[in-house]
Assembly symmetry: C2
Homo-oligomer: 356 residues x 2
């Protein structure tokens, strides 16, 4: 009852009580006392109601309402080793490409009572490492990475931490834990084939300088060359590389630059729909007919893609599915249910629309 003897310790004999802050917040103790039960019983009433008698359940509920008690999940997490927090790392959210994943993740997690911690790593690896420390320190029940973790140090840290990890948006034979992604090389190859099938013979790329985009473009270029979509002797298709994160303006500039050097190109594979929007805009401004004179393919199938004029042909990756699968995996795992980790190639599809 009276466990807060604030100041003035008695004298010499009993080890003097040091009062500690006790900031007046309502705790489970208070609720339990009010309900006339032990704290653990109140805890059970809140967390595993099925294991408590109806009568006590009601008393506890009432006490919670009266006091406005909100459980301290830091304390709960410390004791139970379940933080119900999941961390996600994306290069940036401003690019829009990862938004769908983040959105779906937040929603799926919230539905299970988990919260999302969001970190932006930028496109350089340097920030990723310190971010990782901050993340692991929070003992999240899972970590979702965009891309595969390349730094050996990062892999080790993650592995040692024992936290379930989902790497996404790429493929590798040696994921840390679970992997949900797709092959960027395959994207490049299929887009090249797609354009070839539609009669394009002079293709080019407009791409961000990030590692995954570069791999797509390399594969695209190689496939294009193999398909004969290049001038004799060329070892790569014309390209224009931009600093990530890219934007619409860069797409416009890119098209101008590319056209200045290679006026004869008839198809363009862009590293994102945002860039493609820039290309479409510039083409329209210059009176270049799309797709007649120039075919344009984007990547991401962002919200606006279908509604442009012409509608944008693009590579669709099901970000919502990545998000929900990742969330599912982590939630199951953190509840010690069996989930087979492993590699999921979620694939992609080329959405054929008007621009190509």
């Amino acid at each position: 009852m009276n466990d807060t003897k604030p100041k003035k310790q008695a004298a010499i004999a009993p080890p003097p009580r040091r009062s500690r802050r006790k900031n007046g917040g309502i705790t489970l103790r208070d609720v339990a006392a009010l309900a006339g039960v032990a704290p653990i019983t109140a805890s059970r009433a809140l967390n595993t109601p099925s294991v408590v008698s109806e009568q006590i359940l009601q008393r506890v509920k009432k006490a919670v309402e009266q006091t406005g008690y909100v459980p301290n999940m830091l304390a709960g997490g410390l004791a139970s080793r379940k933080s119900r927090l999941v961390a996600a790392v994306v290069p940036t959210i401003s690019g829009n490409v990862f938004l769908e994943v983040v959105q779906s993740l937040t929603a799926s997690l919230a539905a299970c009572g988990y919260q999302l911690m969001l970190g932006q790593s930028g496109y350089e690896d340097s920030r990723e490492d310190e971010l990782l420390e901050a993340i692991i320190g929070r003992r999240p029940d899972g970590v979702i990475l965009t891309g595969i973790m390349r730094s050996e140090q990062g892999r080790k840290r993650l592995l040692n931490s024992g936290i379930p990890v989902v790497e996404t948006w790429d493929l590798t034979d040696h994921p840390i834990d679970m992997l949900i992604g797709f092959s960027h090389e395959q994207v490049g190859v299929e887009v090249a084939q797609y354009l070839h099938n539609r009669g394009r013979r002079r293709v080019a790329t407009l791409s961000a300088n990030d590692e995954r985009a570069q791999r797509r473009m390399k594969a695209f270029s190689d496939a294009a060359i193999a398909l004969g979509m290049a001038l004799p002797g060329e070892t790569a298709v014309p390209d224009w590389v931009m600093q990530a994160p890219t934007n619409v303006g860069m797409g416009r500039t890119g098209l101008r630059e590319l056209l200045a050097r290679h006026p004869d190109i008839d198809a363009l594979f862009c590293s994102s729909d945002t860039v493609a929007l820039g290309v479409l805009t510039e083409a329209q401004a210059q009176g270049i007919q799309v797709p007649e004179r120039l075919a344009v393919v984007g990547l991401g199938d962002l919200g606006f893609a279908r509604d442009l004029n012409p509608p944008l042909t693009t590579v669709r990756i099901d970000g919502a599915k990545i998000g929900s699968m990742a969330a599912h995996f982590i939630v199951e795992r953190s509840q010690e249910r069996e989930v087979r980790a492993g590699i999921v190639d979620i694939g992609f599809c080329i959405v054929e629309r008007g621009s190509a």
Copy 2:
């Protein structure tokens, strides 16, 4: 030294030790033991290095490296009542309008060693309340809300929790704590004036059905009427309302619908740049000259706005500033430094570009 007597308790006399999980994670104790100091000293070496001797500092650092120790911030937070976590609630991140704020928030917070927890409330108030409970339970050092908290229950919860709160993106005379926003009414009025100054006389609105957008549009409409930009007897300008969150396609549809009913409109105020992009696209598809025949004004100054054709005239709100101010406020507050809370009208500006 040997404080882990794993199994086999002696016999009867001493109260039998129940071993608890002890999951093998490296703790501060381990580091301290390795460095040959007390745990608290190791703690000081990590958190307030200036207060320990150079020699011990080195020993602890070395022990940390050797063990790969990562501090458990759940435990630290519980003990110190500082979680170094900040929660942000946005209606949705897919709309793009709040991205700049989230981005800037994440960055500013990360720079101070804080992490962001992201919650999406949707545009209905219902989810907001349960989200709030999950958030408060985590005892974040601050909460950043998009919009002002309208539910009385929510306000009380937040107030009782004692957590610093920043409401954003709107203005009110009675914020919970701090407020960084702008007047949606003023936006409406100034855009009306802007269009009036440029000779537009038959304006309309294309708007999401969320509360703030509606207020902007109402103010816009009232101001337009007052300025004589309506037919005699009209009490509101033509409008088309869409379900939030809006997208480009809705903008296209909206323009068609509006034009079908009011072929004579010469200016359109859209509730977001995304919608405006749809309008521009549809106008282009229909051969409607912008701005000659139809002026278009957006809101948000999203990344693409300046790069459209014509460049989009829009209302710019400095989301990055909102984010960094909010972060600053919360960080200072959580370090018990004096920060004057209060109301900051961050304003907005109409960015004049080609579309109006």
